[in-house]
């Protein structure tokens, strides 16, 4: 294999592997970010309940 062949192979492989790593890392990151833990759910429910209570008091 000539040097130019090595260059084409390495550049092509690197570009594709780089794109795969970028894409799938971003996907797994966003999936992790979107996970809502039980504590967050509870605090969200409490927050909403407080807001409703405050509205009722105003009325």
């Amino acid at each position: 294999m000539k040097l130019s062949g090595w260059i084409f192979m390495i550049v092509s492989w690197s570009a594709i592997i780089g794109l795969c790593v970028y894409c799938f890392r971003a996907i797994f990151r966003t999936q992790t970010r979107n996970i809502v833990y039980p504590l967050e759910v509870e605090s969200q429910i409490e927050k909403e309940a407080d807001e409703e209570r405050a509205k009722d008091e105003k009325l």
């Binding site: 062949g5 084409f8 592997i17 794109l19 795969c20 996907i27 966003t30 999936q31």
Partner: protein
Amino acid sequence: MKRQEWTSKLGVILAVAGSAVGLGNFLRFPSIATQNGGGAFLIPYFIALILLGIPLCWVEWAMGRYGGQFSHGSAPGILDAVGGRRRPAAKYLGAIGIFGPLLIFFYYVVIESWTLGYAFYSLTGVLVSASQKQQVLLFFDGYRGIAPNDMFPTITPMYVIFIITFVTNFGILYLGISKGIEMVNKIAMPLLAIIGVILTARVLTLGTPDPLHPDWNLLNGLGFMWNPDFKRLGEPKVWLVAAGQIFFTLSVGIGVILTYASYLKPKDDVALSSLSASAANEFMEVIIGGSVVIPAAVVFYGATQAVDIAKGGTFNLGFVTMPLIFAHMPGGSFFCFLWFILLFLAGLTSSISILQPAVSFLEDEFRYNRRRSILFSGLVCFIFSQFAIFGLARGFLDEMDFWGGTILLVLFGLIEVIYFGWIFGIDRGWEELHKGADIRIPNFFRLIIKFITPLYICIILIYFLADNFKGFVLMKSYGERWKEVLILRLALLLFFLFVCFLISIAWKRRFNERGIEK
């Protein structure tokens, strides 16, 4: 009736990647790359990926998700939604997005069944015991029923495996989007990658197996695939072949991505998902596909014979050369089995995807339940698949591939990109593409989608028609068989008109239902 949905983002990405990764990744790509400049071929290939493939994928994902909001899961409904009320003809253009994939399925499922059959005969050792090219050719022709012989006096073994493959496809679809398609792709795609890596590792460790031929070694095999021939870049044909390969490999222009994306939620990301599915497909094509077939052929047959092997066509490469190569390897039966299972999984994940537009059409536009939709589309597919099985020697498979797998694909891609960039409007389209997006697409892609991609597709379409005008359009390549091919062509035309008729009925029913509601 509530439409089905994907249960995870990774699931839909793997499903779209599974649709894109097919037999062409492992057989067609290495063959055309070596015939069109080796490593230098990757220059027009990557340019076409950026200007044609990736933009078209984004267009299909965005249009599909948009159409899904109006409970449309197939091209007629999606184009109707994108085109707006003033363009009632749009839905009839969408008929290509149902007819095209079905036409591909009619013959693709037959080829897929060959790969399963070959995997079975690899395990039993029958296939690898044929160490001469003539024996493998006899096996291939006998198995397909082209020339019955002592090994296969009838077509029965092939037909039984065809039925198994056919039922498997429809069985998966019967389970639905999340429990069927998504589940199968979540298992098959990682498995496909593992098998691909094992086969690549095996080929990359072949070294110089024949001491009598020191030139027949791995480095020369890789060199045959990757050494660039820059002179070939001056030929327009090389650029068009590269663009065509990008078109076929990414499953764009079939209507599959439209259907898959219609099952997304309105705020689900499409920009990153689309790019990820394309990246996974490129991994399978350039890295796995480019490392197995051609380097192995050079290692066992030398560069001179490898030229003929590459020119011999996809079927010859996959079903004749590869079994011969594995016959020379220690543990050949096992690696031959892995090779054909790899092709079968790649075929299966693609074939279930090309069936889904028709099933979605019946479910969404006719309100058929899944069982009825599967039975109806299954019956149509079974009847037309017989043409591909029993008309193989008459050139029926080539005819179906020319229209379904070449012309209609490119034509529908052109329709889609014009609808997105010009009728829906690039500004609205851009906004739609970025709804819930996890990445920001560079702005210059607006110009590419609006001007360059349609122009690029027009040139490819004209080239394909001109290149095949005498041979396929005027049927000169069929010789005396042209009358039989004409009958097939008329049968397919009638079927296309039937699809248009179904669309017209569906919209009349929809209109009447709305009237009653009012």
